[in-house]
C-alpha cells in the first residue's frame, strides 16, 4: 500500500462531509420552530475514486423546502455556518473553506389567497357537493405558478389539486393492497374521464361565480 498516504497527514473531506451531513440534521430538529414545516435533504454526495485514496473534495446536492421566508433564512445561514464551522475545526485554512452555491432565483411557495380559495370552494361545493371538495395539508412540492402571485401587481392566486386516482385503485389503496404511483413516476396514470369532468365543472362554475354571476 505504498500509494496510501498516512491518514494523519491528510484532512479527509469524506469524514468532514459525514460530520457536516449529521450536523445538517439538527437544522430542522433544533433550529426551526417545530410548528413550521421545512425540509433539508442531502440528496446527492460524490467524492473519491477508490478505497485507498483520500480525495481532495466532496460535492453534495442539497434541497431546501420551506413555507416562510424567515425559516428559509435560518436554513440558509445554518448550512453556511455548519459547513464552515466543521472545516475550521478540522484545521483547514481560509482558502479551503467549503463553497456553497445556492440556485437563484429560488422557487417561491405557492401562496394561495385564502379569501379567493374559500370563495372558489363555495362555488365548487355548490356544484359538486360538499364531500367532494376536500381540505388537504400543504405539500412540500414546488410549482412556479407561485410566480404569478409574487409580482408587484400582487394578484391573488388559487391553485387546486384535481383528484386523479381511479376509484377502484383508490379503494385498493385504502385497503392497503397497493401503493399509488406519485407524480413523476413512470406508472403515473390519472383517470381521465372523471378527473376531466370534475375539473371542468368545478373550474367553470368557480370562474362564472367569480365574474360576479352569484345570485
Amino acid at each position: 500500500m505504498v500509494d496510501m498516504v498516512p491518514p494523519h497527514k491528510t484532512i479527509d473531506p469524506i469524514v468532514l462531509s459525514a460530520k457536516i451531513i449529521l450536523d445538517i440534521q439538527t437544522i430542522i430538529s433544533r433550529k426551526i420552530n417545530p410548528i413550521k414545516p421545512a425540509v433539508v435533504t442531502v440528496g446527492s454526495i460524490h467524492g473519491g475514486t477508490r478505497a485507498n485514496v483520500i480525495p481532495d473534495e466532496v460535492k453534495m446536492m442539497i434541497t431546501i423546502r420551506f413555507f416562510e421566508q424567515d425559516v428559509y433564512k435560518t436554513i440558509r445561514e445554518s448550512l453556511i455556518n455548519i459547513s464552515k464551522g466543521a472545516a475550521v475545526s478540522a484545521g483547514l485554512p481560509d482558502e479551503k473553506m467549503p463553497r456553497i452555491i445556492f440556485d437563484e432565483p429560488l422557487d417561491l411557495p405557492v401562496n394561495n389567497d385564502p379569501a379567493l380559495v374559500m370563495e372558489a370552494v363555495e362555488s365548487m361545493k355548490d356544484i359538486l357537493g360538499e364531500k367532494n371538495i376536500i381540505q388537504v395539508d400543504p405539500a412540500m412540492v414546488a410549482e412556479d405558478f407561485a410566480k404569478y402571485g409574487a409580482t408587484e401587481e400582487k394578484i391573488p392566486i388559487g391553485l387546486f389539486w384535481l383528484g386523479g386516482v381511479a376509484t377502484d385503485k383508490y379503494k385498493d389503496f385504502e385497503n392497503k393492497l397497493i401503493t399509488l404511483p406519485p407524480l413523476h413516476n413512470s406508472a403515473f396514470a390519472p383517470d381521465f374521464g372523471p378527473a376531466f369532468k370534475t375539473g371542468v365543472t368545478a373550474m367553470s362554475k368557480t370562474i362564472i361565480d367569480l365574474f360576479g354571476n352569484k345570485k
Partner: protein
C-alpha cells in the same frame, strides 16, 4: 290569508332563485359531460406526444389552434413557447386560467394502450424517453374544456378571460419567462389567477384545496467540501 300569501310569495321567490341556479349548474355539468369523449381524443394525442421543457413547440401550436377555434385572440411565443389567449366578453373582472404544457424525461411504464413512445434529445444532446409523468396533459385538456364551457355559457358572465399556456414548468422557468416577456403588461392584467395540479393521491371526482400556502418554496444548494487528499508524501507539507 295574508300570512299564507306571504308564504307562497316567499316560496315562488326561492323556487325561482333555486330553479335558475340549478339550471346554470346543470348546464355546466352537462357541458362537461358532453365534452368528455371528444376531449379524450385531445388528451390521448397530448399524452402520446409529450415534449420536454423549453421544447413544447408542437404542444404550444395545438393549444394556440384550440384557443383560436374557441374564438380567443391568440399570441404565441411569449416567454419562449408560451401561449396567451384573450376572450373579451364585456366589462368586468379579468380572470386568468393557466395550464402548463411540458413533459418529463421519464420512460413510460403505465401499460396504457396510448402510452408514450417518444424519445427526444435534451439540451445536452442526450436522447431521453419522454412522458407526461406530471399530468400536464390532463391540465391542458381540463383547461381547454373549461375555456370551451365558459365560451359556450358566455351569456352567464361578463369580463375578460385570459388563457395562459405556460412552457417549462418543470425546472420552474416558464412562469418567470412569461412574466419577464410582459404577460401582465402586454395583455390585460388579471385580477385573479387560477390553476389546477392533478393529484396522485386524491380520488378522481374530488378537488383538494388549502386556503394558504399550498406548495413549498424550494431551493437547491451545491456544497463542495475541500480537504487535503492523500496523493503522496507531499501532503504532509500543508
Amino acid at each position: 290569508m295574508r300570512y299564507l300569501l306571504s308564504i307562497s310569495v316567499l316560496f315562488i321567490c326561492f323556487g325561482g332563485v333555486f330553479g335558475q341556479k340549478n339550471t346554470l349548474n346543470d348546464r355546466i355539468s352537462g357541458s362537461a359531460s358532453s365534452m368528455e369523449e371528444s376531449y379524450r381524443t385531445i388528451y390521448i394525442d397530448l399524452h402520446q406526444n409529450p415534449e420536454l421543457s423549453l421544447m413544447e413547440v408542437k404542444t404550444a401550436a395545438k393549444m394556440a389552434g384550440q384557443l383560436k377555434n374557441l374564438g380567443f385572440e391568440v399570441t404565441t411565443g411569449i416567454g419562449g413557447n408560451g401561449v396567451v389567449g384573450i376572450f373579451r366578453n364585456g366589462p368586468g373582472k379579468t380572470i386568468m386560467l393557466r395550464t402548463d404544457m411540458d413533459a418529463l424525461p421519464v420512460k413510460e411504464n403505465t401499460g396504457l394502450a396510448y402510452a408514450s413512445n417518444i424519445v427526444m434529445k435534451d439540451a445536452k444532446g442526450n436522447e431521453n424517453p419522454v412522458m407526461h409523468a406530471c399530468g400536464h396533459d390532463l391540465h391542458m385538456t381540463t383547461w381547454l374544456g373549461t375555456l370551451s364551457t365558459l365560451v359556450s355559457l358566455k351569456k352567464e358572465w361578463k369580463g375578460t378571460l385570459i388563457a395562459v399556456g405556460q412552457p417549462a414548468e418543470e425546472g420552474t422557468m416558464g412562469a418567470q419567462a412569461m412574466l419577464d416577456d410582459g404577460l401582465f403588461k402586454k395583455f390585460p392584467k388579471p385580477d385573479i389567477a387560477l390553476a389546477y395540479h392533478v393529484s396522485p393521491e386524491l380520488p378522481a371526482g374530488t378537488i383538494g384545496y388549502f386556503p394558504g400556502p399550498i406548495f413549498a418554496g424550494v431551493q437547491t444548494a451545491e456544497l463542495t467540501v475541500f480537504g487535503y487528499g492523500g496523493h503522496g508524501a507531499t501532503s504532509q507539507n500543508h
